[in-house]
């Protein structure tokens, strides 16, 4: 085996074993999915309880409309609220109603004003102004109530009117490229893409930062000079990236295997059928590790260059959010991608190397992009990785032997020229 390859693998093995044996690896392997599950669980529990135990007052001169609105509120899927209907025509009724909201005797008061020959107007009084979810529910209930009342007034039976107001559910199907048609669930597919994108960004950033932290630690422990007498800086950097990247892949593999075991269990099977059914394609199975490796190499080589120019971990922390900004940008583009996954912005972001891994997975959740776009994004990522590695390895080569002060921008330019 050539000497430089042997050294590179020795360094990768050392890096891999040190991280795998560390407590941080065990904690994050178990802790991250647990944290993720806890967040999702809390969100789900909160959504189940939303609207429950609420107490509303609906005040309207038209008792039929008031009752229609009440029925709509009581007919919602979530936990049912308590709804009182009152006639607001009594003198001082409006003041006493707002006092109810002020004293928190009720959660809110909906006052509906009817106008002859026109649409009614409505006001909602509550001691909490930020509850936009309740406002949206009340608005939906009022509109449905109006339609319901109008239909029954015009002779439609109550049952038919209720059915019309309830609306029609659209079953979604995905027509594949080979012409086959499968039942699809847009919501579940979105969440699948979202979870994969989060997994990709988290592991990429965590292991990229691990590389940076490891460089700073070695710089602080002054081990570089001992190593440089035997190993070329480029081999050291490559070994470090291979070692830390392998740790990331190992962790993902553990999660995938654990996930597969969980999915195969009867409980998970019961949960993941029906509307939550999620299917993973072969393309996703292949592209996930490809984008992980490319994303990891891109960010970790960037972090490695940054770390070589820093003196302490604290100093490094200051730059990290800046270097990780493209990841946050990717998630900020979710709405754009979900709205039209083939828009110019979506395609551009999926070709732009720092955002490509996450955006591609979000786009794949909506619709499989054409092969040339995958090829172009992978090619652009490889070129960028090469360019960043070129710069980072030069900064690394000089920076790891510079102690005592932080490098200024002109100094960094000179470092690039030295090597």
């Amino acid at each position: 085996m050539p000497e430089h390859l042997r050294n590179m693998l020795l360094i990768a093995r050392r890096e891999y074993l040190e991280q795998i044996r560390g407590r941080a690896f065990r904690m994050s392997t178990i802790g991250l999915p647990a944290l993720f599950a806890a967040i999702l669980g809390v969100a789900w529990l909160a959504s189940q309880g939303m609207g429950g135990n609420k107490h509303y007052v609906v005040a309207c001169q038209d008792p039929a409309l008031a009752n229609a609105v009440r029925d709509q509120l009581l007919g919602q899927k979530e936990k049912k609220p308590t709804v009182d209907v009152i006639d607001p025509t009594a003198p001082g009724a409006r003041e006493s109603l707002t006092r109810l909201a002020q004293s928190k005797s009720v959660d809110g008061v909906l006052i509906i004003h009817t106008h002859l020959g026109g649409l009614p107007t409505a006001s909602y009084y509550s001691s909490s102004s930020g509850d936009f979810i309740t406002a949206a529910k009340l608005s939906e209930a009022l509109n449905n109530g109006l339609v319901d009342e109008d239909l029954t007034t015009k002779g439609t039976t109550q049952a038919d009117a209720d059915a019309i107001v309830k609306g029609v559910t659209i079953a979604t199907f995905l027509v594949k490229k080979d012409g086959s048609i499968v039942k699809s669930n847009a919501e579940a597919t979105f969440w699948k893409g979202y979870v994969m994108a989060i997994l990709l960004s988290m592991t990429t950033l965590i292991y990229g930062m691990n590389v940076a932290r490891s460089i700073i630690q070695e710089k602080t422990s002054r081990i570089f000079e001992v190593m440089l007498a035997t190993v070329k800086p480029s081999d050291m950097l490559a070994g470090k990236l291979i070692g830390a990247g392998s740790v990331g892949l190992t962790q993902i593999l553990i999660w995938v295997v654990a996930g597969a075991v969980l999915v195969a269990s009867p409980l998970a099977a019961a949960i993941l059928t029906g509307q939550y059914a999620v299917h993973f394609s072969l393309a996703e199975g292949i592209l996930f590790p490809v984008y992980f490796v490319l994303g990891f190499l891109l960010y970790s080589s960037l972090f490695a260059g940054l770390a070589a120019t820093c003196e302490t971990e604290q100093e490094l922390q200051m730059y990290m959010p800046l270097a990780a900004a493209p990841t946050w940008l990717s998630f900020a583009l979710i709405v754009v991608i979900m709205n039209d996954s083939n828009s110019v912005w979506a395609i551009a972001a999926s070709l732009f190397p720092p955002t490509a891994p996450i955006i591609m997975f979000l786009r794949m959740a909506a619709e499989m992009p054409p092969a040339w776009q995958f090829a172009a994004s992978i090619a652009l990522m490889i070129i960028s990785i090469w360019a960043i590695l070129w710069i980072s390895s030069r900064l690394y080569r000089v920076g790891i032997l510079m102690y005592g002060k932080r490098a200024t921008l002109p100094e960094l330019v000179r470092w690039l020229r030295y090597s």
Partner: protein, 300 residues
């Protein structure tokens, strides 16, 4: 056979010339001292020998061939800025260093165990580096340097931070390695150690070699104008016109004669007022030569 040879090597950083036109040669089985005040260019010279930095001009040869990284497999290097992986176990660390120098896992393990016994740290092999004292860590660093039986050992300030017992142990080990045929180069501020251990020296100041050659030959260049006198009685002879400088430690005087000062005349003057137990004309110490050569600039 020269193990390492530098010919007209120059290295400049920004506007500062770190090493200027430096030439030196070290033979197999030779102990070589690289001396100089702080910032003289010792570490820069050593780093170029190890291929960590490249010279701007000049030639560096290892084992009679132009510098190549492959040659570093036969070199052991202990830098001034020492470092070990803190979380790693000592034995694993030594095996790792051995493997980087081309040793097989089993061979590296055996050598590490033997060396640990030789330097009296066998019980530390299973401990993590961070659990050990600084002196112990220095011994481990030294083992990492010599584990692969290098033909050239380069050490930057190897004695700094060592207590007297371990310093003597290191001196003894270096002499053994020299006996086994290794060439050893080290930089230090400790003149007594250089005087005791080195066959040859190179004194550099402001990046330039100001004095180099075999120790004996260098010392012989300086006239024997130092006198040690042990006496009882009057110390008036210390005011003699033959003396340039004198230190009197109650009955023990160290004297530097003026240029062409007459030692015989001084002996007569001393004997006139005191009983003389010892009157010895000695060559200048290396420290004296060092200070004289680099002037008042040395802060060592």
């Amino acid at each position: 056979m020269p193990v390492v040879q530098l010919a007209g090597v120059t290295k400049t950083y920004e506007n500062k010339v770190a090493v200027r036109d430096l030439s030196l040669s070290i033979e197999a089985g030779q102990m070589f001292g690289l001396l100089g005040p702080n910032g003289a260019g010792k570490t820069s010279s050593i780093r170029m020998m190890m291929g960590i930095t490249l010279p701007d001009s000049g030639r560096i040869e290892l084992f009679e061939k132009p510098f190549a990284r492959k040659s570093l497999e036969r070199v052991g290097y202990l830098p001034e800025e020492r470092g070990l992986y803190k979380k790693m176990k000592v034995l694993d660390q030594l095996i790792f260093f051995g493997e980087l120098h081309g040793l097989a896992d089993g061979d590296a393990r055996k050598r590490a165990t033997d060396w640990a016994a030789r330097l009296d740290i066998a019980e530390s092999l299973d401990k993590k580096t961070e659990e050990l004292s600084k002196g112990m860590q220095q011994k481990i660093q030294f083992i990492g340097t010599v584990l692969h039986s290098p033909k050239l050992i380069v050490m930057d300030e190897p004695f700094s931070g060592l207590d007297p017992v371990n310093a003597v142990l290191l001196e003894r080990t270096l002499l053994e390695l020299k006996e086994e045929g290794s060439a050893i180069l080290f930089s230090t501020h400790r003149m007594d150690q250089v005087e005791k251990l080195c066959d040859s020296i190179c004194l550099i100041n402001n990046g330039q070699a100001v004095l180099s050659g075999r120790m004996r030959e260098i010392k012989s260049r300086y006239e024997r104008n130092h006198v040690i006198v042990e006496f009882e009685g009057s110390a008036d002879f210390l005011k003699s016109s033959e003396i340039a400088e004198a230190k009197n430690f109650s009955g023990h005087a160290e004297i530097r004669l003026k240029e062409h000062g007459d030692a015989q005349k001084l002996l007569h003057e001393a004997a006139a007022g005191a009983r003389i137990y010892r009157f010895e004309l000695v060559e200048p110490s290396l420290e004296e030569i060092f200070i004289r050569t680099v002037g008042g600039k040395a802060d060592a």
